[in-house]
Structure formats: structure tokens, C-alpha cells
């Protein structure tokens, strides 16, 4: 007999089972990633090369202000690392989804009781976490080799900021995954979207340099506050606005973006189930 307590236990048990299914997707992605022994080294090298390149580019900076080259390098390092994480979450995940379609493994996710929605959402987790780890290694490299001045007193705060960033980045990956499910392609779109955000988000230069007519774009997406906060806590860069305001933005954007992306993904699934194209590629 199941009383009220029993029902609560059943719900908890189901929630644990459901969470376990999501973690299984993360674990699968991790196993596949590490089955290629040099993949993580290759990704780390890629970002280290970018950091090295930008170090020498920053040496060209001659504003007359003391330390301008170092300040710009610190600015760029955080931008490069965050862009790496963003590219992984937005770009690699839809690519992986397309591979699943071609290999026929997506079909199995769709007919599983866990379902396609949960599976696709879970597929954003490992690329984000693995590239966060690689980014951390890259920042350590920049500090050790190029003397990036880390703010040790506040560096630990980058963890909660990164967690908030993950919640903000995931919806973009889910939206692009929806495009893969609906139209089977997202490669070109992904490149445009990432380039657009790297332009208006302040990844490589301060958004204050943008023309006034498009500067508002830097206020209506989560990348600008993410970069501001991370630069502040990691390298002591001044904030553009109050820290609390940036944190609030990072907390509010996912409240809008996550349900929106889940709705779009659900619509893509329903549309392709109706059309019969869900397993096509």
C-alpha cells in the first residue's frame, strides 16, 4: 500500500532514476571523449596556441599607458577561454547530435523512456565541463608562462560564475540542436551565431568600442556579464556595472532561455515525429 509518504518516496526514487539517466549520457560522452587518448591534449594545445598568439599581438599595443599590453592580454585570455567553452557547448554538441543521427544512435535515445529532450539537454553538460577544465589549464599556463596576473583572493568565485555561465550557454546549444533535428544541418548557423556573439559580447575587445547603435546588443545576451564577472574575479579587471546587476542578469537569462529552448526542442521533436523525419539525416 502506498501512502502519502510512499508516493513521495516513489517520486524521489523516480527523480533519482531520471537524474541517473541524464548522468549516463554525460558518462557516455566522457567515455567516448577519452577513448581518443590525445583528444584532450589536442584541445588544450589549441587554446594554448591561441593564448600564445594573443600574447604577442598584445605586445603591439602602444597606448602610452603603463601596463596597457598586459591589461589587454589579461582581457583577451579570459575572452579566449570563455569562447572555447562557448564554442564547445554551442558548436560541438550539435555536431555530436548530427553524428548520432547518422550513426542511428539518436533513434535509440528517442525511443528510450528517458526520451530525446532529456538526452539532448544532458548532451550539453560534458562539452561544457571538459572545456571548462581545459580552460582552467590554459589560464594556469598563461599565468605560469606569460605572467598573467591572477587575483588569487577572488579566483575561487569564478566557479559559481562558471556554473551560472553553463546555465546560460546550454540553451544556445539546445536551440542549435533543435535546428539539427528539424533541418538536419546547423554547422553554418553555429559559426554565424558564435561569431556574432564574439563581436557583441566583448570577447576580444571592450563592448564600449562598438558603435552606439549596436551597443545595446551587448546588454541583451548573457555573454557580456559572464565575461565582465570572470575578468573581475580572475584578473581584477574593473566591472562595467555593479557586480550584483551582472549576477542578476546571469540568473534571469536562463529563466527565460531554458524554457524557451526546451519549448523549441520539443516543437522540433513533435514536428519531425509528425513528418516522419526524426531519424533522418
Amino acid at each position: 500500500m502506498t501512502g502519502p509518504g510512499g508516493t513521495a518516496d516513489a517520486r524521489t526514487s523516480f527523480a533519482v532514476t531520471y537524474l541517473t539517466a541524464g548522468l549516463a549520457v554525460v558518462s557516455r560522452d566522457m567515455q567516448l571523449f577519452f577513448s581518443y587518448r590525445f583528444r584532450w591534449i589536442s584541445q588544450l594545445l589549441q587554446v594554448i596556441l591561441s593564448l600564445t598568439l594573443f600574447f604577442y599581438i598584445s605586445r603591439l599595443l602602444q597606448t602610452g599607458a603603463p601596463g596597457a599590453a598586459d591589461d589587454y592580454y589579461a582581457f583577451a585570455v579570459v575572452g579566449i577561454v570563455v569562447l572555447q567553452v562557448l564554442t564547445a557547448t554551442m558548436g560541438l554538441m550539435p555536431l555530436a547530435l548530427r553524428q548520432e543521427l547518422v550513426a542511428g544512435t539518436f533513434e535509440r535515445l528517442v525511443v528510450s523512456p528517458f526520451g530525446a529532450l532529456g538526452s539532448v539537454a544532458s548532451m550539453t553538460v560534458f562539452p561544457f565541463l571538459s572545456n571548462l577544465a581545459i580552460g582552467t589549464g590554459a589560464i594556469a599556463f598563461a599565468a605560469a608562462v606569460f605572467g598573467l596576473p591572477l587575483e588569487w583572493s577572488t579566483a575561487a568565485l569564478s566557479l559559481p560564475v562558471a556554473a551560472l555561465a553553463g546555465l546560460n550557454f546550454a540553451p544556445f546549444g539546445i536551440l542549435l540542436a533543435s535546428a539539427v533535428i528539424a533541418v538536419k544541418q546547423a554547422g553554418a548557423g553555429t559559426t554565424y551565431v558564435i561569431t556574432f556573439f564574439s563581436l557583441v559580447g566583448g570577447f576580444f575587445f571592450p563592448v564600449a568600442l562598438l558603435p552606439g547603435s549596436i551597443q545595446w546588443l551587448s546588454e541583451v545576451q548573457p555573454f557580456t556579464p559572464t565575461l565582465d564577472l570572470l575578468r573581475h574575479v580572475l584578473v581584477g579587471a574593473p566591472l562595467r556595472e555593479a557586480a550584483m546587476l551582472s549576477v542578476m542578469k546571469l540568473a534571469i537569462f536562463p529563466l527565460v532561455l531554458l524554457p524557451l529552448s526546451a519549448y523549441v526542442l520539443g516543437s522540433a521533436m513533435r514536428l519531425t515525429r509528425r513528418r516522419g523525419t526524426i531519424a533522418e539525416y
Binding site: V16, Y36, R274, G276
Partner: protein, 238 residues
């Protein structure tokens, strides 16, 4: 166009569990593909009863795979209804999927660089098998499908027949009520076929139901409870 339900003959299987409602009930199912003049399925009715195995044959492209995909909840019909143990795939998809095991055609659906054990563990979690039963389910599947010695082997280092055994093991692992098999003999040797037939025997003894689709003329290696054909979009007794 659909005929009125009263004038259509429902294709039904005799049950080993008399009185039990049909495990799979499809009524008036119609599916059209874009840019094709005729529907691939044009008013399919099917009642598959508990404890039975139904073979569905037909020519290449007749619509067998489409029929299975609709029954699996993978794609939706344009018209008509589908229910598994009374569950609607539109409104109750998660519960619906818990009752269904689906083996797609071909040899896809596996991760080349994951091991057999990893696949079964992964699937047991996606199938929402409770934690207390997960390990037991995986071990039972390894044993039932003769995969124990291959548990640690990566899929890309296995033969096609071994891969098919793994795909079958994943199909049966969560003890579905309805098993949908699209050309399950694919690459199986005699031992593999025997393993599959034993899995079907166990399924039907516990009241489960199976639909086996393959092209007409294939030697099944057993006598199903019912034989049907997809012809001109309709399902008729063979």
C-alpha cells in the same frame, strides 16, 4: 481514403492469454510521405495480443519499417490511433516507451568505441530501470544473449553478428511488454537465431508480445502465431 471502421477487417492475433486486451492496438493508421502520390500505410488495423509473435512481411518498401516506427512511437501517424497496453504515444510517451523494445533495421544504433557492458549499462539507465535492478538486468542480458565473454570488448572490434546480439540484448533488457523487431535475423548465425527465439519464448511466456518484420520469403526459423503482409498500404493475413 480511410474506409469506415465498421467496414474494415481488423487483423488480430489469437492470444495465449484469453481475455487480455491487445498489447498493441493500431486502428486506421495512415502515413503519407512527401511527394508520394499514395500513402505508404492506408488504414492499417492491427491487434497484437499478449503472448503472441506476429510476423509481418511484404516487399521492399511496402511500409513494414514505417509501421514498426509508428508502433515504437518514433514517428507519428497522419491518421488513426496507436496504443500499447492502452497508452497513447502522444500523451503518455514516457510510459509508452517503457513498454516498448524496438530493434531498428540495419546494424546502426551502437557507439563504436563503447564496450558491450557500457552499452547495456547505458541503455538500462536510459530505460529508467531502477537502480536496485540495473546490475541484475545487465548481467542477465549478457548471459541471455551469449555476450558474457564479449562484455569488455569495444563494438568496432566485434563481428556484425555479435553486434546484432548486442542490439537484441538492448531491445529486451528492460523487459518490455511489446518487442518490435525489424529484420532481426540480420547477420545472426544459427546460435544467434536460437538465442533470439529463446528470448521470444521467454517474452511470450510472461505475456509479452512481439512483432517481427522481414521481407517475404525469409526463412524465420520458427512458426509465428500470425502471419501478415503489408500490401498496397494495407495489412492482410498472409
Amino acid at each position: 481514403m480511410l474506409s469506415p471502421a465498421s467496414t474494415r477487417s481488423t487483423t488480430s492475433t489469437a492470444s495465449a492469454f484469453p481475455g487480455a486486451p491487445p498489447t498493441l492496438c493500431m486502428q486506421g493508421v495512415v502515413k503519407r510521405w512527401p511527394r508520394q502520390s499514395k500513402p505508404v500505410l492506408d488504414g492499417v488495423d492491427l491487434d497484437a495480443r499478449a503472448g503472441t509473435v506476429t510476423w509481418i512481411g511484404g516487399r521492399n518498401g511496402a511500409g513494414k519499417t514505417t509501421l514498426l516506427r509508428i508502433a515504437a512511437g518514433l514517428i507519428a501517424a497522419d491518421e488513426g490511433t496507436t496504443a500499447v497496453v492502452g497508452l497513447d504515444p502522444e500523451r503518455e510517451l514516457r510510459d509508452y516507451q517503457r513498454h516498448v523494445g524496438f530493434l531498428s533495421g540495419g546494424n546502426g544504433g551502437l557507439y563504436a568505441r563503447l564496450t558491450v557492458a557500457s552499452h547495456l549499462d547505458f541503455w538500462s539507465r536510459l530505460a529508467l530501470v531502477p537502480r536496485s535492478k540495473r546490475r541484475e538486468s545487465v548481467e542477465a542480458s549478457l548471459h541471455q544473449f551469449g555476450l558474457e565473454e564479449l562484455a569488455g570488448r569495444r563494438v568496432d572490434r566485434m563481428s556484425m553478428g555479435q553486434r546484432q546480439r548486442l542490439r537484441l540484448a538492448m531491445t529486451f533488457l528492460h523487459q518490455p511488454t511489446l518487442v518490435l523487431l525489424d529484420e532481426p535475423r540480420n547477420s545472426l548465425d544459427d546460435d544467434g537465431l536460437a538465442v533470439l527465439l529463446e528470448a521470444l519464448r521467454i517474452l511470450t511466456v510472461r505475456g509479452g508480445t512481439a512483432i517481427w518484420c522481414s521481407p517475404s520469403g525469409e526463412d524465420l526459423g520458427f512458426e509465428p502465431d500470425a502471419r501478415m503482409l503489408v500490401q498496397a498500404g494495407r495489412l492482410t493475413p498472409a
